[in-house]
């Protein structure tokens, strides 16, 4: 059973992802957070196989989360999930080796399943 962490400050985004995963990957265990700092604090305990991480969040954004992971030697796989179509964001994501996918919202349920199966 795969463990999945959802980190997005919008409840609705987590709701959509959770719904998709319930339907398409009912076997996986999902932990969702709207507070990235709380999610980071739980990272060791949950030890997810995959983190769906939003970029644009207040206080701690997706890049801060990734930097903190690198600083503390946490190598969990990450799929960036963002509404940004900006090339700058896509280029920045290539700097982190644990990023396995860059998913642009809105996405299809199969997009999540595809990346989940790859890890």
């Amino acid at each position: 059973m795969k463990r999945v962490m959802l980190v997005d400050d919008k409840d609705m985004s987590n709701f959509i992802m959770r719904k998709f995963l319930e339907i398409k990957a009912p076997d996986c265990e999902v932990f969702d957070f709207t507070d990235p700092e709380g999610a980071f604090a739980e990272l060791d305990g949950i030890n997810p196989d995959l983190i769906f991480l939003d970029i644009n969040m207040p206080i701690m954004d997706g890049w801060d989360f990734l930097r903190k992971m690198a600083e503390t030697n946490k190598h969990n796989k990450v799929a960036m999930v963002t509404s940004s179509t900006s090339e700058m964001d896509r280029e920045q994501s290539s700097l982190y080796p644990n990023i396995v996918r860059y998913i642009v919202k809105p996405f299809q349920a199969d997009d999540l399943v595809d990346v989940l199966e790859s890890v």
Partner: protein
């Protein structure tokens, strides 16, 4: 005696710096070289006449050959010594020393009650040669002064233009810096708008589209929770669009007023 007078004249001539010095010297010492009541020494070069008159007539300024009086003109044109009775009591004598490029006229006026005109031809020639050299020196110095003046004028012009170019360069530097600052500020603003569009506007829209996908995939009627989430996303999108309008208007206002 005459040579001694000439030696004194010559040594003082060497210390003449201005034409007025020369005039003063002639007034004081010419009478020791030969006797006259009035005398004129004219230096002719390139059609111009410069000269000194001793006696009643004052210093002669630069003039053209056309302005010579009849006696001087005849002397200059014939280039032979002339003696003429000007009146019952006055006699004019003139010599022209012409070397081709320049000529010197020496004219003396004597009155009948004076002694017979006495002169020494060698002294006259020496006098003319030394005066001729002095005239030439004055002319060269004056030409040099004139050129120096022109050069100074040109130097002033160059300095003025140099300062103008520097001022222009400074002004352009300031303008360039201001424009660069302006462009940089606009670039930053554009980046902010790009970021805002990417996240602030697309994000609520993506949520709306996401929830529609959820409704499609679950093939169910819209539940109250989904409807509330949809409403929340619509409100966020509306706010984002309002913010874009306000920001665009704020940026446009300075250009419209």
């Amino acid at each position: 005696m005459a040579f001694e007078a000439y030696a004194r004249f010559s040594s003082r001539l060497a210390s003449c710096i201005t034409r007025q010095d020369l005039q003063n010297l002639l007034e004081l010492h010419l009478k020791y070289l030969f006797n006259f009541s009035q005398a004129a020494i004219c230096y002719v070069q390139d059609g111009k006449v410069q000269g000194h008159r001793v006696g009643k007539v004052n210093l002669m300024g630069s003039a053209s050959v056309d302005q010579l009086d009849d006696f001087e003109a005849e002397l200059f044109s014939e280039k032979i010594p002339l003696v003429r009775e000007i009146s019952e009591t006055e006699t004019a004598r003139g010599w022209c020393f012409d070397s081709g490029e320049q000529g010197v006229l020496l004219i003396c006026l004597t009155t009948s009650n004076e002694q017979t005109f006495l002169y020494n031809a060698s002294i006259l020639r020496l006098l003319v040669e030394s005066l001729s050299a002095r005239f030439k020196q004055f002319n060269l110095m004056e030409a040099l002064d004139e050129k120096n003046e022109k050069l100074n004028g040109a130097l002033q012009t160059v300095r003025f233009q140099h300062e103008e170019i520097h001022a222009l360069a400074r002004r352009q530097g300031v303008e360039l810096a201001e424009k660069t600052k302006d462009i940089r500020s606009k670039n930053e603003e554009l980046q902010q708008i790009v970021k805002f569009n990417a996240h602030g506007v697309r994000e609520p829209l993506s949520r709306i589209m996401g929830i529609m996908n959820v409704i499609k995939i679950t093939n169910a009627n819209m539940e109250l929770q989904e409807l509330q989430l949809l409403e929340e996303a619509c409100n966020d999108l509306d706010q984002a669009l309002c913010q874009i309008i306000v920001r665009a208007e704020t940026k446009l206002k300075p250009h419209l007023s």
